[in-house]
């Protein structure tokens, strides 16, 4: 009965979403007071129902109810608890249900907690949110029912892709998904504001926490995904420009731009139409990303179940929502005033450049991702790989980092170029020193891009701290700390990327027990290779002793694993983290006469890449807390001021 209850809850929630859209229309267009009163309870009830449906699906997975098709196809009774749990969303239907659940819970939160926006825009936003939800309900209920029964029930499940049996990955897709949903809320705000022609600083302040929250999750999700690809695939790389990776990167780029332009709108009431446009683009990118991943339109190493029907469905939704929003934008954007003016030398101007560079990168990633599809129309089959992306995007990303050095040093509205030069002198000098040091001290040729990357990283690390210079650190607002930490994180991440690409060393060997290999001043000794059994896999496990200057640093156990159900071989690499980098060890296949393939990498400061990503996300968290607290204090102050007026 659990599955039927879940399905009923979903249908009910879909009906409520219809009601929500209707009430919003009646309230905004007709000024109907009853509709106005009803819309908030309806939104909250819808959130509760979809939350319930998601919980019921998780319960079905935990109980391994093999009479439910989705459970039988994606789970297994022998699977560890945590993966049964994560299995609920590790498939198409479940992840769509998760999307809908998070979306309507977010709608409920907008209904309950949003106070700053004017009433009509608030209701119009909820209406837009309902319109989007309706499409996803239709998709879920008509084309991907997660609660469908299997008759007769299966004896046991068909397992989960063993590559996905990893704690990082169990929580990686939902993190991205929830981030996408956050962008859908920003999209709804933008549509609401366009409908009521209220694109202003209040709108920006209302939308900013949602953009920030979505952006934090995307940052975190991408960082975690990159690390997962790095240690799980055993290829030693951390970003492969795979269509699925790009699908998560594009919304992040748009969200980063949106975050900064919303800041300009909130602080200076400028960039109104542009901010709206970015809100539409950000959500469009998350839907396009979902479309590219789920439709199987592009060939990717991520082997998702491919179904053109589902692809068509998402494409239709994309057409309706994004097309509709863009038509609305074209019709309404000219009625939006330009907003406040600013000088070419000002923080706004730098933020505009930041936005433009981010959009250029976004466009290039999108073109690179879609290019194979385009040329195929003309009968030519090509694939676009890392050489394109690295060559084209590397320099622009580096330029973006230079803007990041300068931007926060400038004042709002208007600043003096001479003063800027004086302020930028110290980080600039540091970058120059770094450049000389790398070129002078490095024993081998370092590429141009990594060299410049390290120099810019040095300048950025210092410049990112500038907003704290000569300030009372206790009175500095939390969101300023957020900005400082996030920008510092960019420097850390950039340093990691540049260092990894410039200074990595690699050893490939056919090793037999007793062999030793030297890498980066360390000695790696293959002691033995023994069989090893896990809960649902078996493996050959190597014992590698790593020592430096005769002292043993540690013993590593990389494995070549074999999962039984479905039969899949995987490699379980081992990373030994030192303060200055990582030793990356992979056991390959057995060769003859007792030798084993062994891959050893030394990747200096590679961990900085993800450490930086973590710092960027942490900066976002601090900014979010700081902003929400500030808004709350402001609205309280306004309320008490109003009360004082009444009392007087």
């Amino acid at each position: 009965m659990i599955a039927e209850a879940g399905l009923a809850a979903l249908w009910l929630a879909a009906l409520l979403a219809g009601a929500q859209l209707l009430f919003a229309w009646a309230a905004v267009a007709k000024g109907n007071a009853d509709a106005l009163r009803l819309i908030r309870p309806v939104t909250v009830a819808q959130g509760v129902l979809t939350g319930l449906a998601m919980t019921l699906l998780i319960i079905l997975f935990l109980r391994s109810d093999m009479s439910v098709y989705l459970v039988a196809a994606n789970s297994h009774s022998m699977k560890p608890f945590i993966y049964k749990f994560a299995g609920a969303w590790g498939n198409h239907e479940g992840s769509m249900l998760l999307w809908v659940a998070v979306m309507s819970l977010a709608g409920a939160a907008v209904a309950l907690f949003e106070r700053g926006l004017d009433k009509r825009t608030h209701i119009a936003t909820l209406g837009a949110q309902a319109a989007i939800s309706l499409g996803f309900y239709a998709f879920l209920l008509l084309a991907s029912n997660p609660f469908a029964r299997l008759d007769p029930a299966a004896r046991d499940g068909q397992g989960l892709n063993p590559l996905l049996q990893d704690p990082g990955l169990a929580f990686h897709p939902p993190t991205l998904y929830i981030g996408y949903v956050g962008l859908s809320v920003a999209f709804s705000f933008a549509v609401g504001a366009l409908l009521t022609r209220q694109v202003n600083a209040r709108f920006a302040r209302a939308v900013r926490p949602w953009v920030l929250a979505a952006w934090i999750l995307l940052t975190f999700g991408i960082t975690a995904g990159s690390y997962w690809a790095y240690y799980e695939l055993g290829w030693g790389g951390w970003w492969f420009w795979d269509p699925v990776e790009n699908a998560s990167l594009m919304p992040w780029l748009a969200a980063t731009a949106l975050l900064h332009s919303a800041s300009v709108l909130a602080t200076r009431d400028a960039l109104r139409a542009w901010t709206i446009m970015l809100a539409v683009v950000a959500f469009a990118m998350s839907m396009i990303g979902t479309f590219l991943v789920r439709s199987g339109i592009l060939t990717s190493v991520h082997a998702f179940a491919v179904d053109p029907t589902r692809g068509s469905f998402i494409l239709i939704l994309l057409g309706i929502y994004i097309g509709g929003a863009l038509i609305l934008f074209a019709l309404r954007a000219h009625t939006v005033n330009e907003g406040a003016r600013f000088d070419p030398v000002s923080r706004e101007a730098m933020l505009v450049i930041n936005n433009l560079l981010l959009c250029v990168i976004l466009a290039l990633v999108l073109i690179g991702t879609l290019y194979p599809l385009l040329t195929e129309m003309m009968g030519v089959r090509v694939s676009v790989g890392p050489p394109y992306f690295n060559t084209i995007i590397g320099p622009i990303a580096l330029a973006l980092m230079v803007v990041l050095v300068i931007g926060p040093m400038l004042r709002w509205r208007k600043d003096d170029a001479k003063l800027l030069l004086r302020r930028a002198a110290v980080p600039g000098g540091l970058a120059l020193l770094a450049l000389i040091a790398i070129v002078g001290l490095s024993s081998r040729a370092v590429g141009l891009l990594p060299t410049l990357g390290l120099a810019v990283a040095a300048a950025l690390a210092l410049a990112s701290l500038a907003p704290l210079w000569k300030r009372n650190l206790l009175r500095t607002p939390l969101f300023t700390y957020g900005m400082v930490i996030a920008h510092f994180g960019c420097a850390v991440s950039l340093a990691g990327m540049a260092s990894e690409s410039a200074f990595s060393s690699e050893r490939l060997a056919a090793a037999k027990p007793g062999d030793t290999y030297e890498i980066a001043g360390m000695t790696v000794r293959l002691d033995s290779v023994m069989p090893f059994a896990g809960p649902n896999w078996t493996a050959m496990q190597a014992a590698l002793t790593v020592s430096k200057d005769g002292r043993v640093i540690g013993v590593a156990h990389p494995q070549a694993r074999f999962f039984s159900d479905p039969p899949t071989p995987t490699t379980e690499s081992v990373q030994m983290t030192r303060w200055n980098g990582q030793l990356y060890l992979v056991l390959g296949e057995a060769l003859e006469d007792g030798r084993w393939q062994l891959r050893i990498w030394w990747k200096p400061f590679v961990t900085f890449i993800w450490l930086g990503g973590g710092l960027i996300a942490l900066g976002g968290v601090l900014a979010l807390i700081g902003r929400v607290r500030r808004e709350r204090r402001n609205s309280k102050a306004q309320a008490s001021a109003a009360a004082a007026m009444v009392a007087a």
């Binding site: 339109i297 692809g311 097309g323 863009l326 934008f329 195929e376 490939l508 060997a509 056919a510 003859e592």
Partner: protein, 178 residues
Amino acid sequence: MNKRLLILWVPLIAYLIFLVVASLGLNRDQQQVVQSRMIGKPVPGIDLPAASSMKPALSTKQMADGKPRLLNVFASWCVPCAAEAPQLAQLAQRGVRIDAVAIRDARPDVDAFLKRHGDPFQRIGLDARSTLQFYLGSSGVPETFVVDGKGIIRYQHIGYIGPQDVEMLMQKLREAET
């Protein structure tokens, strides 16, 4: 309508183009291989070091010696490459000259691979950074190119050579002699 207003429609138009491309792409048949554009063109001339301690190095600059041959793109870490070894051996026995490129490989690994799976090759070049592979327009391993006596690529076989492919390759080699 003035220019500023027209600009506002640009995003919509760009978006519509995307929708058209995506919907066309969705309905096409899913063909998963990418044919090289180098067919009919000379093999790119690159000097590669020897990939094995038992074999001479490979320079693709010397391929125009009057007789056709196969150029096999493989790697010791590639499972289908091991699976096609018997077919390559059969081709070699029938007098076909086979040169090879080992992609992203290491000398000890290639030695072990040859010992284990047999060695039908005349020369093996080590393509550590996939340079030749890139210029050949090869998108994966294994792939096999038919090169004629003038050093022109005549045919590209993508994926592993199955027992049913041997005759087809012999035929392609005969065609390359003309």
